[in-house]
Amino acid sequence: MYNQENCRFLKTHEWACKEGDLAVVGISNHAQEEISDIVFVDLPKVGRAVKAGENCCVVESVKSASEIYAPVSGEIVAVNDALNADPALVNREPHGNGWLFKIKMTNPAEYDALLDFAAYQATIQK
């Protein structure tokens, strides 16, 4: 759905995928593998304004809690409520139904400045 080749990435393993003036945000396949069994996602509130790099969501596994940073600035306009009932969606489909939230971008230039898939791959292969 949000094929990784079409996504932009942060070094901290979030991906963003442009959908009109929205950026859909999730965590990379590599990140979900590292975190392992996800048991809870503390989603942000719809309507919240976030700045690029701001911590706005937490992904919990049994014994870890990972902060999720907004890849771009804007307003949270949707969150993936399906994760409340089935947080393991993030493990099963990190680039699909396991998306986290959508940001209405206020500065699309930020999106263009994110890592592309090849550049992200290079960071995790180090």
Binding site: V39, V58, S61, K63, E67
Partner: protein, 441 residues
């Protein structure tokens, strides 16, 4: 396993802050405070020490107790200390290798289950230091849930709880205002309604309140939720044998001092902090929680759960710095509750109601003394004396009676007021003796 830092770690830390030794680090502390001379007498032998302690203990004067004010004397069945004192149980701490101690975790799980049933709430923690810290943690959780900063507390919270809350919230930017009572000794609900706004994080009530009276909990709960604020209720667990449960009036967090459940008053401690919440807020609860899981062979196993809330994982963003509990007190509580059962607890609560009413009636008949009974009360109430309460306390102490708590100690305007309590421990003869002593007979 506890791994202290090595000499090398110590050196690295000292290098970062730019001092050469630990001694240099602490040299700002005056030497006489750092290495004080305590000027202690020579050590006693065990025999002499025992004799000395017996002599000190003999100075205690046993009084028939009518003091409540936060800690209450109840009957503790002999089975409670006999079971909790077993070597397998007698530890006051969650073990570091928690899952290796299935027995301990099971007792905590049972405690949480009993508390949820008694309070009619969804989740309970493994316990906290005492009722006051549980209450302060509930306020912080309500702030995190709502994102609001204004806290309204009942002016009829226990004064010590208010102090603890003040300490906990000192650097949080929260503001605390008090909801005022009427002459009846319960909250002024109309005034409270005007006080709650869409900036209110939570309303904190005590039920029964510090003066012993029962609040209009349903109304207060409705008013609180109308403005999107949360209700934090501090209750007396024994009273739940007869009073409405916090769950029934939709409290979001319910906390309590659990000493009353099988733990002695013991000069005011240790306490047992009980904390419960609606399921929606369970990730905001502080401290330990035990859950049920299955081991690799499919057998039932108890585990510490929802640990991502806690500081060993979440660091400075943890729900709380609390990672301990009051295991032995919680164990006493769960044994007590199990021995009594729902019917037994109801009977204890009814006895409390009955004895307190008998006492109130007898005191009311003594010339010059009046009892405030315009609001319903559980096992405690306010007596207005013709003289300062301190004088009454002194007079009754001479007759072997602890008359009550002097309310002027925390509220100067209540100089002649005495907070008096009768639990199931006070017999009809004790109550008669109290009234006679007041009459000066």
């Amino acid at each position: 396993m506890f791994t202290p830092h090595t000499k090398q770690d110590e050196k690295e830390m000292l290098d970062v802050i730019g001092v050469s030794s630990v001694k240099e680090l602490v040299n700002k502390i005056p030497a006489d405070l750092l290495y004080p001379n305590y000027n202690l007498p020579a050590a006693l032998t065990e025999q002499h020490l025992t004799a000395h302690l017996h002599a000190l203990a003999a100075k205690n004067k046993p009084l028939t107790n009518f003091i409540g004010a936060g800690m209450y004397e109840h009957f503790i069945p002999a089975a409670v200390p006999a079971l909790s004192g077993r070597g397998e149980f007698l530890t006051a701490y969650t073990p570091y290798q928690a899952e290796a101690s299935q027995g301990t975790l099971q007792t905590i799980y049972e405690f949480q289950s009993c508390i949820c049933a008694l309070f009619d709430m969804d989740v309970a923690t493994a316990s906290h230091y005492d009722g006051a810290t549980a209450l302060a943690e509930a306020v912080l959780a309500a702030h995190r849930v709502t994102g609001r900063k204004e806290i309204i507390i009942s002016s009829l919270l226990h004064p010590h709880y208010k102090e603890v809350l003040k300490t906990y919230t000192r650097h949080t930017g929260l503001t605390i205002t008090e909801a005022q009572p009427t002459q009846k000794g319960t909250l002024d609900v109309a005034a409270l309604q005007a006080q709650i706004s869409d900036k209110t994080a939570c309303v904190v009530i005590a039920n029964p309140n510090f003066l012993g009276y029962i609040e209009q909990v349903q109304e207060i709960s409705a008013l609180t939720h109308e403005k999107g604020a949360l209700l934090v209720a501090q209750v007396n667990p024994i009273s739940l044998g007869v009073l409405q449960t916090p769950g029934s009036y939709e409290a979001d967090f319910a906390v309590a001092e659990g000493q009353v459940l099988g733990n002695p008053v013991s000069f005011g401690g240790p306490g047992l902090g009980i904390m419960t919440a609606k399921k929606a807020y369970m990730r905001q609860l502080p401290g330990r929680m035990v859950g049920i899981a299955k081991d690799k062979n499919g057998r039932r196993a108890f585990v510490l759960t929802l640990q991502a809330r806690e500081q060993h994982i979440r660091r400075e963003k943890a729900a709380s710095n609390i990672c301990s509990n009051e295991a032995i007190c919680a164990l006493n509580a769960v044994i007590y509750l199990t021995l009594l059962g729902p019917q037994g607890l109801k009977e204890v609560a009814e006895l409390n109601l009955e004895r307190a009413r008998q006492l109130a009636e007898k005191i009311g008949r003594v010339k010059g003394f009046s009892v405030s009974t315009s609001a319903p009360f559980f096992n405690e109430f306010v007596v207005t004396c013709p003289v300062p309460a301190a004088q009454v306390i002194e007079k009754l102490a001479d007759k072997g009676i602890a008359a009550g708590y002097d309310l002027s100690a925390t509220c100067p305007s209540m100089k002649n007021c005495l907070l008096v309590c009768a639990t199931e421990m006070r017999s009809a003869a004790d109550i008669d003796a109290y009234a006679r002593a007041l009459e000066g007979k």
